[in-house]
Symmetry: C2
Subunit: 345 residues, 2 copies
């Protein structure tokens, strides 16, 4: 195209978001019509989750655009990993801070650069998560809001890794190492452009897609840790009507036991590691998987019959009730940590 | 539950959005786990669209909550109608204006009431559109942002009603009557709570789901009119590589030809009626459909070979190019209207 006029935002969005993303041979109609059309593979179910991130709530508003995009899509894709689903595609609803027409040209250009950087980050994250871009909507508002709906497939004969399948006697496992996301937060707030060290995990959480898919045949329940280990363990306990005992000394953490930040590793959010339960008989298989994927998988506790209090409140999702079903010990002694996790709302 | 404590927002959201919505027997796992799981019907494709509405951009921020919800979901569902899809379910990403903890209790209560009213409107719209609620995410921000992803099914042997199938010689049709949404706007801005007269169409746009499904076997192309007839006709012309002639005197409008607001009926947005093309041979069948559905369907023009200029710009989506492919006449005389439609962004 040889149009010499400056590119408008509408045209830029079209250019930025219409090429370079992973393709899916299941997509019959992609971006550009009233809706997208996807052909589901036979004998598979559709797994979907939507995730919203708001500027200065879920990320610093002044963070570089490509980091914001990476974090938004990776966090959303983590829910597919937690279900054991094979990723397929995603939709983006992007609300951009309103255009100020009276701004000088240099600032308009900054804005176009921002959009291009956002699209670059989104494209890279889409490749990392194997998600094709199926559609979206771009609007203007007072602040940046990024919603991603991600979807994928599960074999129809598998119910997926629900939170509700844990059994008394099951072992409790966790992938990777906990705490980097939460420990990065002060650093990220101070310098939103720094994406090394712990901040790398904050901006580039790693959806454990391969592990999730492999665990379909091993695990009885799973979820991704977004709100902190203790709170999220409570969600599995509650949904599965069990109580969970966690052994503090076994939990892989970003700082060593005894470090003043150790408790934050157990209560802070933003890890996006897998928390799952499996029968003790699956232990060798899980350790083999850990070797194959080069991904640490640690057994950090076990499930028991629900204590009566926990059982009676099993349908509740409030923090206080859920936490009653999780017991943390350190060298055999009960340990209570003050904060139960990150409350979004 | 006999908890005497005041209900928190989290709990209220759970209560409001977890019951009373239409159910789908295709849903295996609904709200409450990391993701939802849906079983696609065999030999059907998945049709999806996402639509965002921002306070004071797409609706008045002070409009009653149930009207905001109705409009948001109905506008989104209109894209399913435009594809001829059978609706199945939807996801809601809701960003609520941030809670001000220092507000007096009376205002906190107002906020809870608002949420309940929003859920009521959403539930009613979900029943009207036959969409089950599959999942969502609720966050806090500076202003209200509502994103709905809607989805449904198409028989796999049908590509759906794309914008790109119109052929030279096809007739151009429109459902219902145009202009009410746009003509309601001054009224809606003045009194956001008034939902009668033209404002009824503004808050309760009618996704033409049944018509869209029936037209799968008759129409060559279709879309829903959200940005104004003239602009949207340009989108079909552009995608189909045809030019479109519209006969002004045949277009069904909310005010009569000659009324000063008549042009607004052709250029204003917010109609959500179907615009479609079909071979002349389908005319009797379309008129019979109109009778069956008790929905006016009017032939308002026809498609021709693309004029060379329009063809060369056929891949562009900018307003100016698209409009070149649409010619409006009134009693045989060419007519030019100033505004080409509503530009969202």
């Amino acid at each position: 195209m040889s149009n010499p006029a400056p590119i408008g935002e509408f045209e830029l969005i079209r250019r930025c978001f219409c090429s370079g993303f992973p393709t899916s041979d299941q997509t019959r109609t992609g971006i550009g019509d009233d809706a997208s059309v996807v052909m589901p593979p036979p004998q598979h179910t559709l797994v979907q989750s939507i995730d919203t991130q708001v500027a200065d709530v879920h990320f610093p508003a002044t963070a570089p655009a490509h980091l914001i995009a990476q974090r938004a899509l990776r966090c959303a894709a983590s829910d597919l990993a937690a279900m054991g689903a094979t990723p397929q595609g995603f939709f983006l609803a992007l609300t951009l801070p309103r255009n100020q027409q009276d701004k000088p040209i240099s600032q308009q250009q900054e804005r176009l650069d921002w959009l291009e950087q956002f699209a670059n980050g989104l494209r890279d994250a889409a490749h990392a998560c194997q998600l094709s871009l199926l559609g979206g909507d771009t609007t203007s508002g007072n602040e940046l809001v990024v919603s991603c709906l991600v979807q994928g497939w599960l074999p129809a004969n598998n119910t997926g890794l629900l939170r509700s399948g844990a059994q008394p006697g099951d072992q409790v496992w966790v992938s990777g190492e906990l705490g980097r996301g939460a420990l990065a937060l002060p650093q990220v707030l101070k310098n939103p452009a720094y994406s090394q060290g712990f901040a790398q995990r904050y901006y580039f959480p790693e959806p454990r897609l391969q592990a999730g898919q492999a665990l379909l045949s091993m695990a009885t329940s799973a979820m991704d840790i977004s709100d902190g280990l203790l709170q999220d363990a409570g969600h599995i306990a509650s949904a599965s009507h069990v109580s969970i005992q966690l052994l503090g000394e076994r939990i892989p953490t970003a700082v060593a036991l005894g470090h003043p930040n150790w408790p934050t590793c157990l209560t802070g959010g933003d890890d996006y590691e897998l928390l799952f339960t499996a029968p003790a008989a699956a232990e060798a298989q899980i350790q083999a998987l850990s070797q194959t994927l080069k991904l640490p998988l640690h057994c950090i506790g076990h499930c028991r019959e629900a204590v009566p209090e926990a059982r009676s409140n099993a349908t509740s999702k409030t923090l206080s009730h859920a936490s009653q079903a999780v017991e943390l010990t350190l060298e055999g002694q009960p340990l209570t940590l003050e904060r139960g996790g990150f409350q979004h709302f």
